[in-house]
């Protein structure tokens, strides 16, 4: 299971690269602060720092980015608990019980619970990744173009089904993303949708488009408010109380373990990510509890379940990113871009040839967990001040940073123009309840979906059924895909049938 030689080499690499260690602190701090600002997602912070990783070694870049990821996973819980405004969709479930605790004056306790659950979830899930990555590396070689295609389609539909109010709109968002990704030279050597603009020959610059979609959709939304924090008395922070909350969290190991396993599995599914993990973990804990009615009214278990779920999703999405080359969410999509900046395509080959780097990342993340515990304790007081920054100052600062980021990425004005255009698209989509993350995942996976569709057609001899019947994994994935697409409408139809039956009988 564990490749000891690679592990030894990983320890060696880590011992030699002190910059990688130094980057943990700014990474976690940046992630936590950014995560604590509603509207600033970890994906956005990662996208902004992405050009800077060009000047780092591959390992340093990945450690810096996972540190941001780690920090942000907890950071998003802070405004969710203090104000009932989740820092990102990943902390939606955290706010369900965290905010009522704050209203009761237990906000320090709740923050402590969240920090401990986050840290344990993070480290535990990386332990699973550490033990399982060898198995994954051999299993992924079994995935041919058919399986990859179905996996990506499943990811695209899952994010549409589980996110947003309207399934059809989310599916449409994903489809729009895929269509935008088809601009440029196709895998069949056909030029499409470029309108003879030479800049579009290689398609829409994905990273700039992504910065635009996220930054604008979330920041423009925020611009409607004149402040981030309404009540200044909520910002009183007592470190001793937080520490008590951290110890309290240890009293619920089952809740943490459940969140950890859910996070590590669902977080690994492409396109689902932390946003779903924390909801599923919360829902499962609530379902299994003796007093489900206490949830939503300030039950500490709710906070723990949600935080353990979203924190452990990082390891899950890192597993698919490194082993399959598929981003599990927007954040790992940015990391995929960082990988390709260093000319590494995540995937079986990377896992096979650079297992020492993968191990180094995992080992480093154990340390990141410990650092987060200390930094989190210290930074919570400081971060309350970040939330005091007026929106009218905060938004321009972030937009300027994002513009610089997209410019330095493309090296010409194409990046900023793409960012602005997609900023408007993102804003429009958000306004009309079209899922922005679904569109981004579509945009990122679109090219791969098409290439794999073509390969599936070619390898099966023009779509011969016998080829698919001989591939059990593909059939299972097809079943999952159909289930995620049609289970909800079928359930709804069934329920409606039953109600009408009951009504007619009555």
């Amino acid at each position: 299971m564990i490749d000891w030689q690679a592990l030894q080499s990983a320890v060696h690499i880590l011992a030699e690269s002190y910059t990688a260690w130094l980057l943990i602190f700014p990474g976690i701090a940046l992630g936590m602060i950014g995560g604590a600002i509603p509207g600033v997602s970890s994906a956005l912070i990662l996208a902004i720092v992405l050009p800077a990783t060009l000047w780092m070694s591959l390992l340093s870049a990945l450690i810096f980015m996972t540190a941001i990821y780690t920090g942000a996973a907890f950071g998003v819980a802070i405004p969710a608990i203090l104000m009932g405004v989740p820092g990102s969709p990943a902390a939606v479930a955290t706010s369900f019980d965290g905010y009522p605790m704050t209203q009761r004056g237990e906000h320090n306790l709740a923050l402590g619970l969240a920090l401990a659950a986050s840290t344990i979830g993070h480290m535990g899930a990386y332990l699973i990744l550490f033990l399982g990555i060898g198995v994954i590396s051999h299993a992924v070689l079994r995935l041919g173009p058919v399986e990859m295609l179905l996996l990506m389609l499943w990811g695209l539909t899952l994010i549409a089904v589980l996110r947003g109010r309207y399934m059809s709109r989310s599916l449409l968002s994903g489809l729009i993303g895929v269509l935008i990704a088809t601009i440029g030279l196709s895998p069949r050597d056909v030029m499409r949708g470029t309108f003879d603009v030479p800049e579009l020959l290689d398609g829409v610059p994905v990273v700039s488009a992504m910065i635009g979609l996220f930054a604008a959709s979330e920041l423009f939304n925020l611009a409607g408010n004149s402040y981030l924090v309404q009540r200044s008395d909520l910002r009183n922070v007592n470190v001793r109380e937080i520490a008590r909350g951290m110890v309290d969290a240890l009293r619920y190991p089952v809740v943490i373990l459940r969140g950890l396993i859910i996070g590590a599995t669902i977080g690994g599914l492409p396109g689902v990510g932390a946003a779903v993990c924390n909801l599923v973990s919360y829902a499962e804990t609530r379902r299994g509890d003796k007093h489900p009615e206490t949830f939503g009214k300030g039950n500490p278990k709710g906070v723990i379940a949600a935080e353990a779920g979203n924190a452990s999703s990082e390891a899950g999405s890192m597993a698919t990113l490194l082993a399959l080359g598929i981003p599990g969410g927007a954040s790992s999509a940015v990391m995929l871009a960082a990988l390709s900046l260093h000319d590494v395509t995540g995937g079986p080959q990377f896992l096979d040839s650079s297992k020492d780097i993968v191990y180094a990342i995992i080992l480093n993340n154990f340390v990141q967990g410990a650092v987060m515990l200390v930094l989190g304790l210290g930074l919570i007081g400081l971060m309350a001040n970040v939330i005091r920054i007026p929106v009218r100052v905060l938004i321009p600062v972030i937009l300027v940073l994002a513009t610089f980021g997209s410019y330095s990425f493309s090296g010409n004005i194409v990046g900023p123009i793409t960012m602005v255009v997609f900023g408007f698209i993102g804003w429009f989509m958000q306004r009309h309840d079209y899922s922005v993350p679904a569109c981004v995942v579509g945009l990122i996976l679109g090219g791969k979906v098409e290439a794999n569709l073509l390969q599936t057609y070619q390898i099966s001899g023009g779509g011969q059924i016998s080829y698919f019947l001989g591939r059990p994994i593909a059939l299972v994935l097809l079943a999952l895909l159909l289930f995620s697409l049609f289970s909800r409408p079928i359930m709804q139809w069934w329920r409606r049938q039953r109600t009408t039956n009951v009504l007619t009988k009555a």
């Binding site: 041919g144 030279l185 390709s340 395509t345 995937g347 290439a451």
Partner: protein
């Protein structure tokens, strides 16, 4: 059919005679080249008059960072920079089957401050004839094809096919069932079509699966997803535990895997000779009009680059990274490109059906 075979024999021999030179020819070549260019070196005083270069020189690479083209360009920056006394940068402009980078290079001032590392064959052939990129071979002054790849034919390590002969038999026994992976528009993509044609098999005999780049293709062979693959040999050597080479489609065996025969060695008893184009030609290129506009600058660039390629320190460093430091010179480079284009032209009708 006989016409095709005759043609293929001639050109295959041509290519073979060129490629059969041993790798150690560099020192010998350098001597002869140094003698030939000594007259050019006498124009050295002209350099003193023109202080160029005073600004940083950029090498445009028409692929992504980290690939063979990019590696080759980056290997040249340090030695060129120390000889010129100014920074030499690499700018990667990937996409559109090398059209984007190549067009970007043509759009830069033709003053010698911008160089290009690109693939005249087979990529430009596709750009010019299929994508109507708008440029032609005459727009470029190709200094040298520094690095030419060979095509390797690989099967998964667990495959029941043990040799190229067995592969051909298996293809004939199960027409339309075997799958072969290639990178689209690469040398292998065309070599696949030419090879099947030489074996008198229609293209539909093998399921051709096209990939965007060689890394996922190699992963697919390693994972037993494909029956065989035709892929650049040099980059595949690190994966020999997962995929097995059964033949080399080139004029000579590869020094990295000397036990593996060439396709034409195996097919010799059948009286078949398979034509091929080199897997990938990686060349250093300047603008064609530099020769008239700035003859001194062109000479200075040319001589400095040639000196770098003759420097044992550079050769050792480059070879360590798997980068070749061949010196063919402009005339021989152009001749090889034209030979490859001639092969692609000859099979145009067939290759359009791929």
């Amino acid at each position: 059919m006989s016409r095709i075979t005759r043609h293929s024999k001639i050109s295959a021999e041509k290519v073979r005679s060129r490629s059969q030179r041993p790798m150690t020819r560099r020192s010998f070549l350098w001597l002869s080249v140094a003698a030939a260019s000594s007259s050019r070196l006498s124009s050295m005083p002209a350099f003193a008059a023109d202080p160029w270069p005073t600004e940083p020189i950029s090498i445009i690479v028409s692929t992504t960072a980290g690939g063979g083209f990019d590696l080759m360009a980056r290997s040249l920056t340090q030695p060129l920079s120390s000889k010129f006394g100014i920074p030499v940068n690499v700018i990667d402009k990937p996409g559109g089957a090398m059209v984007i980078g190549t067009k970007y290079f043509l759009g830069q001032p033709h003053d010698g401050n911008t160089l290009l590392v690109s693939g005249p064959s087979p990529y430009w052939y596709v750009d010019i004839n299929k994508f109507h990129a708008g440029y032609k071979l005459e727009d470029f002054d190709i200094f040298n094809i520094q690095w030419t790849d060979k095509t390797g034919i690989f099967v998964p390590s667990g495959s029941s096919v043990k040799s190229f002969r067995e592969l051909v038999d298996a293809i004939k026994a199960r027409p339309g069932q075997m799958s072969c992976g290639v990178v689209r528009d690469s040398g292998e993509y065309f070599n696949f079509g030419i090879m099947l044609d030489s074996l008198k098999l229609p293209l539909s005999t093998v399921r051709l699966v096209t990939y965007e780049s060689s890394a996922p293709l190699r992963t697919a062979v390693a994972g037993n997803q494909l029956d065989f693959a035709m892929v650049s040999l040099e980059g595949s050597v690190t994966m020999l535990s997962l995929m097995r080479p059964i033949a080399v489609l080139y004029g000579s065996r590869a020094s990295l895997i000397p036990d593996v025969p060439t396709v034409n060695e195996v097919l010799k008893p059948d009286g078949i000779t398979v034509d091929f184009v080199p897997s990938s030609m990686r060349a250093l290129i300047v603008h064609a009009d530099l020769r008239e506009k700035y003859p001194e600058r062109r000479a200075k660039l040319f001589d400095t680059y040639k000196k770098v390629l003759a420097d044992p320190e550079y050769i050792a460093k480059a070879n360590k990274q798997g980068i070749s430091a061949d010196w063919l010179g402009p005339e021989e480079s152009l001749a090889q490109i034209k030979a490859a284009y001639a092969i692609l032209d000859r099979y145009k009708e067939l290759l359009n059906k791929l």
